[in-house]
Symmetry: C2
Subunit: 307 residues, 2 copies
């Protein structure tokens, strides 16, 4: 089924305890589109870049089935740039540089062919920008998934609440779930957030896995214990891309199938963190992905005989 | 099968964001013995208390099948007392008071009837004290499980390494696994620790579940997302008690069965944290435990159709 991905396509410069990079390709929509391309080749991308962006990466996206008609390229301007340094535990980071550049006045325009997609993935952006995308759809998508972050809770809570009210699935991390709800218990936080609009909530806990809440049900997907995590950048976006890509492929948005989608999302994220940037997320085989999913099955599968 | 539990039986005074207690019954061996009593009634306890300890709690233990022949009661002396205050996230705490009292010169004496038990659970104590128990066994137990903590890594690493070398299963938390191995990655940490002696390693991650490592295999058990966690005290000990109790009941120490044991241990721990102290761990029905285990099954069960 058709999928529209909206978010940043950008440059990152990343430092982790394992090394540092110069400017490399990043951005939420880059990770989301790559991850979802393992499941569907009917992907539209809406984003904005400057004319400094490498043609090679755009060709990679095209090759993977990503339609770039909605990618605005601003002549004479520079792409969004973020630089950050991760702490030793990789669970926290400091932002060193944020150059909005083309993102400063980004007004996404959804191309006609993408206005009736069945799946819409709104990567982390200003809530008003996310809302403007929803408003351009001529047919309500079957599923709208939205990712956001604490930054927007700090400075644009009213707009965030408005867009959260009209989506289907919200993906945030545990600290953000606590901030949004004012509840420390994630179970209580989820109960409150599900009353704000979304029918389903995904709470991402990084190396501690992810929780999926829907009505009174909850599902937990672990993160794979990895020998090396080089760079967590893009893990959440790869997760979201795998999640919505799997749903778009299987055309089944039931809670039961969302469990599977969470596992596939976690599998894609587990590749992303093994190298810097998008490198590991490009060129995986179907077998690679299936084997990784099997590792998740093995990790949590048990066979209790109740006594 | 027969089980020997060695550890503290003590008083705690606990403050959490949800309230505080006066002196209540605590101690590693109290939680371990209670949790394991849901699986076997052939339990020996070796510990030491003063004459200030409530008879009613000792009667509870007896009623649950715990043989107290190895419980030394020192006349005119006071029981071990610990007081602590948990931070808002419940993941860290400050120790306010530690009064060793009878524990200061604790020399455990294993009663004759307990010297040939098949399962030995060494709760957190000085490594030399744990070793003295192993040395008193006239027959090597089928399984020795040892719990320890960072404190002993700081002040008695040599003795800790000696006792770790002769046990079967080590249970520590994630920070302790990192300290013991010098590796941040838990996978690498486990590889190193498994070379120190134990055939199996359990890494407890509190609200983030537990990892079971054995040879090249790994299993993950989540913690149940709970609406309220009142008091984490004793969760790790309840986990250990459920773990070894289930193994003693089923008489199967294979990796496959240890997965089940981890789930039962997690289930017992999930009860403990719902109230202060040992309160919630007393008087559960078999149905209570089975229903809780079913919640774990529901939490992680998925049925992936590989595409």
């Amino acid at each position: 089924m058709s999928l529209l991905v909206v978010g940043t396509v950008a440059f990152d410069a990343i430092e982790t305890p394992f090394g540092k990079t110069d400017k490399i390709v990043g951005g939420a929509a880059s990770y989301i589109a790559l991850a979802s391309s393992y499941f569907t080749k009917n992907i539209h991308l809406v984003s904005v870049i400057g004319d400094d962006f490498p043609e090679s990466f755009l060709n990679t996206l095209k090759k993977e089935g990503v339609n770039l008609d909605g990618l605005e390229i601003k002549k004479g301007e520079k792409s969004f740039f973020w630089s950050g340094k991760y702490h030793n535990d990789l669970n926290s980071r400091d932002t060193l540089i944020t150059e909005l550049n083309v993102l400063a006045d980004f007004k996404p325009i959804v191309p006609p062919a993408a206005k009736e997609v069945e799946f819409l993935m709104l990567g982390n952006l200003a809530p008003a920008v996310q809302m403007s995308v929803i408003n351009q759809m001529t047919k309500r998508p079957k599923l709208i998934v939205l990712d956001t972050m604490n930054f927007w809770m700090d400075i644009a809570m009213d707009e965030l609440m408005k867009v959260i009210a009209v989506i289907d699935v919200l993906t945030i991390n545990d600290a953000e779930a606590r901030q949004l709800s004012g509840e420390y218990s994630l179970v209580k936080a989820a109960q409150k957030i599900l009353k704000m609009g979304p029918k389903t909530l995904v709470i991402k806990k990084g190396e501690h896995g992810a929780l999926l809440f829907h009505a009174d049900e909850v599902f937990f997907a672990p993160a794979l214990p990895l020998e090396e995590v080089y760079d967590p950048t893009g893990a959440g976006d790869s997760f979201a891309g795998g999640f919505i890509g799997y749903l778009a492929k299987t055309k089944d948005i039931s809670f039961e199938n969302m469990k599977n989608a969470i596992i596939f999302g976690s599998a894609l994220a587990s590749f992303t963190v093994e190298k810097f940037g998008t490198e590991r997320l490009i060129g995986l085989s179907q077998k690679d992905v299936e084997e990784r999913v099997q590792e998740f099955v093995d990790l949590v599968q048990f066979d209790i005989a109740l006594y």
